[in-house]
């Protein structure tokens, strides 16, 4: 391509009928998506009481362990709580379905078989579908930016046009779409508030499977309880009552005893 000649003639109608509509449609689609997602969102599922109990049982042991090195409670109370929790974990008293009957091979629960997990996944899929639709209806046109750019922007701005010689200032409409796609987040935040669901770039990365399986997916509590039991035993070795030498500390603080060092 020669440097001096005007490389391409851009019909102003392209600008009026392609670029502005793309931007406008992008913005409107963002708003629409936000409201559709709000409509589709299922309310957070309520956990049955037994499930909450199972989920929070680990926290009990963790709270006990957290202060074990300077524990606020006297030794006898500490050991009794610790033993109680160890026993409960060993027998599975905190498991949602009660203590295990026989000792069959314990398998990790499959997310597909748990109806509760399936519900969560469905909710994810529904919102995901809304995100995918607009990406399919995009055509290709070109626009010229009013400023020069280096060659490095070629892949960013001319997506879909395999012409190595074309000036980098030309932008394909597909690229324009993507620029809008990532760039409109600020506008959405301004109009819809901070936690809007209009921005599609975030939800693209979150798959309905990845989110459900790792964060809220079913966990093998029986196994977690076994580990926690070991942790409890370990903490019992570290246990130290905060009141053990407290009288010496107080006497030293008030200058009645010589400092220890």
């Amino acid at each position: 391509m020669s440097a001096n000649a005007v490389s391409l003639y851009l019909d102003p109608q392209i600008r009026d009928w392609v670029l502005f509509p793309i931007t406008l449609v992008m913005i409107l689609v963002g708003f629409l998506r936000h409201y559709v997602v709000v409509l589709l969102q299922s309310p957070p599922k309520k956990l049955p009481r037994a499930a909450i109990r199972e989920q929070r049982a680990l926290a009990r042991a963790q709270i006990l362990r957290a202060t074990a090195v300077h524990s606020p409670i006297p030794p006898q109370t500490y050991t009794s709580i610790s033993n109680y929790l160890s026993d409960a974990f060993a027998t599975g008293a905190y498991l949602k379905d009660g203590p295990p009957k026989g000792d069959g091979p314990s398998t990790a629960p499959n997310p597909m078989t748990d109806p509760a997990a399936m519900d969560g996944m469905m909710a994810g899929m529904k919102t995901q579908m809304v995100m995918m639709v607009p990406q399919m209806i995009i055509m290709e046109q070109t626009v010229k930016l009013p400023f020069p750019l280096t060659l490095g922007f070629k892949s960013m701005l001319q997506r879909g046009i395999e012409t190595p010689d074309m000036d980098v200032r030309w932008v394909s409409s597909l690229s324009w779409y993507f620029l809008n796609f990532f760039g409109l987040n600020g506008l959405y935040r301004l109009v819809l508030g901070n936690d809007n669901s209009a921005d599609s770039s975030q939800s693209m990365t979150a798959s309905p499977f990845a989110g459900g399986a790792t964060a809220a997916g079913p966990q093998d509590y029986a196994k977690l309880f076994k580990t926690e039991k070991d942790n409890l035993e370990f903490s019992e070795g570290l246990y130290n009552w905060v009141g053990k030498d407290v009288e010496d500390r107080v006497l030293r603080k008030y200058g009645k005893l010589a400092p220890a060092y």
């Binding site: 049955p48 006297p74 006898q76 009141g243 407290v246 009288e247």
Partner: protein, 291 residues
């Protein structure tokens, strides 16, 4: 009183969890009368909830009903509004009606902690303490981290003279809020009442140890005065009973008990050295010298 300052004050009450119902009611009615609640946004609903509770507290049920109506229209199925309705019912209805209302809510959602707690408080109020303790135990087995629940359990036990059970409940409060000297003070006083003097002494000393702001040159204030009095009471008993003191928790009596006793005497007397303490100081000294 401007609308702005009233709203700011109410908002700070909400964040600090202050229950100054009379003041909240006074300011709240002013805001409500100005008719600006609808354009407060989300804060408006929190304000209505706050005003509802305050007006039930001061006995102005007409205002409470007015707020509840607005809240009920906006959030028809909200469990939070259900609880508010329950509290409003407690003010006028018979306990059995309220209990059956709460039972209905619990049947719909067995894991609603707020309703469960209200139910337990009603049970305790009408004297069904056994049932209340049973429910509270089950509640705490599920929602272990509810320190208020453990305190309530300790209070119920203490009111039935079951101080050792109260101590066990308080141990969980200590685990949950290990940074709160008032929890330690309550534990110490309960241990003292239960007769476990060595344990009480240790816990009183922990309260003193937790207080960074005071040393030998300052006058004990607030919680420390109470803790020093507690230490003095413990050391006095421990020194008086020459035989080895039996402790349920196997806590040993400190070796330098005499030194602690001296220090406690000194600190308590220092607490009464200020201008306000002068009159009572002689009384305290007489008590200190009397064995």
């Amino acid at each position: 009183m401007s609308l702005q300052s009233a709203l700011e004050k109410l908002a700070s009450y909400r964040t600090n969890n202050t229950r100054d119902s009379r003041e909240v009611f006074r300011q709240g009615v002013f805001v409500l009368k100005s008719g600006k609640t609808s354009n407060l946004g989300d804060d408006g609903w929190a304000f209505l909830e706050q005003l509802t509770l305050a007006s039930i507290d001061v006995g102005r049920l007409d205002v409470a009903d007015q707020c509840l109506k607005q809240l009920g229209e906006r959030f028809p199925d909200s469990p939070r509004v259900d609880v508010l309705n329950g509290i409003r019912m407690e003010a006028t209805e018979s306990p059995s009606t309220v209990l059956s209302y709460y039972d209905e809510l619990m049947n719909m959602d067995p894991s609603n902690a707020a309703v469960w707690k209200r139910r337990i408080s009603v049970l305790r109020r009408i004297g069904r303490v056994e049932k209340a303790v049973e429910e509270l135990n089950e509640f705490l087995d599920t929602f272990y981290t509810d320190a208020e629940g453990w305190l309530e359990l300790a209070d119920i036990f203490a009111s039935c003279n079951q101080y050792n059970f109260a101590l066990q409940a308080l141990a969980h409060v200590l685990l949950l809020t290990p940074q709160n000297p008032f929890a330690f003070l309550q534990y110490a006083e309960t241990a003292y009442t239960a007769g476990d003097i060595p344990l009480a002494l240790k816990m009183f000393l922990v309260v003193i140890d937790m207080n960074d702001r005071e040393d030998e040159d300052t006058i004990p204030l607030g919680i420390s005065v109470r803790a020093w009095w507690g230490i003095k009471l413990c050391t006095r008993q421990l020194i008086a009973s020459t035989s080895s003191y039996t402790s349920l928790s196997n806590t040993a009596v400190p070796k330098n008990i005499k030194l602690i006793d001296e220090l406690a005497t000194e600190r308590v007397l220092t607490a009464y050295s200020g201008e306000q303490g002068v009159q009572t100081r002689s009384l305290v000294s007489t008590w200190m010298s009397g064995r």
